[in-house]
Symmetry: C2
Subunit: 315 residues, 2 copies
């Protein structure tokens, strides 16, 4: 038994055949023709799927799709995806003209959460929170092995939980969201601020101009013991830790899984986060603690998680 | 078909027979004999239940219990309840010696959330968030007409979501929790602070000494147009609104229901909250908005909601 998993991104669309264990048997990709519009993109996807698999194969049980933006997963419609320039695109319905199999669509961060929990680093757990720490902060919630997307599949906007009322401005228009403190963009902002304050910091050697600062600058220099860099990292860890503790108090997950660019810091980041959260957990000794893990499916998370949309329904 | 709903409080235990529509047919109460210990209290409950209903009645389908503290709802055990001085009390098991019917136990705030959503002001909705604004801030989460308690029934600690990293100290040991801004205690703290700053405020007429300040002081004087009182109310509304918007972004509930002492302010509070939240909702025009309601079951919420633990399982 296998599924097709589709990961729609602004640059490329990845399609893979995924087996029941979450292994990709075969995969291919196509450039996302944003200017071509939804019909052209869906035509490209349909043709790519048919080139990979015989739609009549009885072992082929369905298609899962992860797509950026606001999705109505009940109908398989993309309500709006800014980087695809899509609005009200009935994705599942249009793709069904090419392949007559069950099709499920969800938001890309949700899909990655499902992939990591079903087949990745979280596969020992049934209840997890997934956070992608990239340009923004995306999130996914797994409750009892199922994706929880919020009512009308419009929740799980975990990056837009305010951690500091009246705090840093966020892309969403509010102030003080977790995204404004825990995204790679926020890390870079704080790194630059600190570099301007400390002209002697090692960070100026790592990134000789402010334009060259990236999400690694502070972390790499902090590992060398640079005081200013350590301050940036501690600041980042503090806000990320506070956000994770909030989710712990709401969901009491068995594990929080971190994905996205910043999680490339691996154990260096994880140990600091564990230290931060250890003494700040809510409640008495019997309150279950959460594990902190880094995502392990990498670039394949989208394809595998998308397939998980179909597999998790079969359970 | 009917259930017994039991509301265990630190002062008294309320027991009622509740029908399928959430109406209380008959009720009674007994003083909570905290010093007598768990066995004495459970004996009191058992006798009270048997005085209200024939345990052999075939229309009597089960017993639901709302209890303060940390509950393991899978086993019906009270892990810890500070104000009852209980620790690891197998409540369901012990009560089953008196009445051989299905028994379910949950946290009191969770139970009130279920009651309001099944039978109270939220009965038109399937997905709600319930907040009790009292000495602390308690919470309950209803997803698709079912109580969601978090993994191991230890989540839904909605009052302990940090809104201000490094903010006001909270009873839980962290700083900046919603409880430290949105409880009646926080409202009283801010009222006193403002009164000390403004000796001419009308609030000094309403509450001539700081010891007389209560949760109504600022609200009542704000209705009279007192500037200092309005500032306190706006501060309270702002933090409560920010907290509610956070829950909206995570769960996208159809409604947020407010209970507890502060919600006695009714529409005066609700309209201010709606105004605050209106322009701060996340996302584009298609994102579902949430309604803001005040609880309507009052003192009976505990009994009715507890019965709901049994009824919601029958659905």
């Amino acid at each position: 038994m296998y599924c097709i998993g589709i990961d729609i991104g602004g640059m490329s669309i990845k399609v893979g055949i995924v087996d029941r264990d979450g292994h990709i048997i075969k995969k291919d990709r196509v450039v996302t023709d944003v200017e071509g519009g939804p019909n052209k993109i869906i035509d490209d996807i349909g043709k790519l799927v048919r080139s990979l698999i015989d739609p009549k194969d009885r072992d082929f049980v369905g298609i899962g799709i992860g797509c950026p933006g606001a999705i109505n997963s009940a109908t398989g419609t993309v309500d709006r995806a800014y980087n695809l320039k899509w609005e009200n695109v009935p994705l599942a319905e249009l793709l069904a003209r090419y392949i007559n199999k069950p099709i499920k669509v969800s938001n890309d961060a949700n899909v990655a959460a499902l992939g990591e929990t079903m087949f990745g680093v979280g596969r020992m757990y049934s209840d997890t929170i997934f956070l992608t720490l990239g340009t923004g902060v995306g999130g996914g919630i797994i409750i009892d092995n199922k994706l929880y997307e919020g009512n009308e599949s419009k929740g799980a906007e975990l990056g837009h939980m305010v951690l500091v009322v009246d705090g840093e401005p966020c892309s969403c228009g509010r102030r003080g969201c977790m995204e404004a403190y825990c995204s790679a963009s926020a890390l870079i902002r704080e790194t630059k601020k600190m570099m301007e304050r400390d002209r002697n910091s090692l960070m100026w050697k790592y990134s000789p101009t402010l334009d060259e600062v990236n999400g690694k600058t502070a972390f790499e220099c902090s590992k060398q013991g640079d005081g200013a860099a350590c301050e940036v990292v501690n600041y980042y860890v503090k806000y990320l830790g506070e956000g994770m503790l909030n989710f712990a108090n709401i969901f009491r997950p068995q594990a929080i899984i971190l994905g996205g660019g910043v999680c490339a810091q691996g154990d260096y980041l994880i140990y600091k986060l564990k230290d931060y959260c250890k003494d700040r957990n809510y409640g008495f000794y019997g309150t279950p603690r959460f594990d902190i893990l880094t995502a392990q499916l990498g670039n394949d998370a989208g394809i595998i998680g998308a397939a998980g949309l179909i597999f998790s329904d079969l359970k």
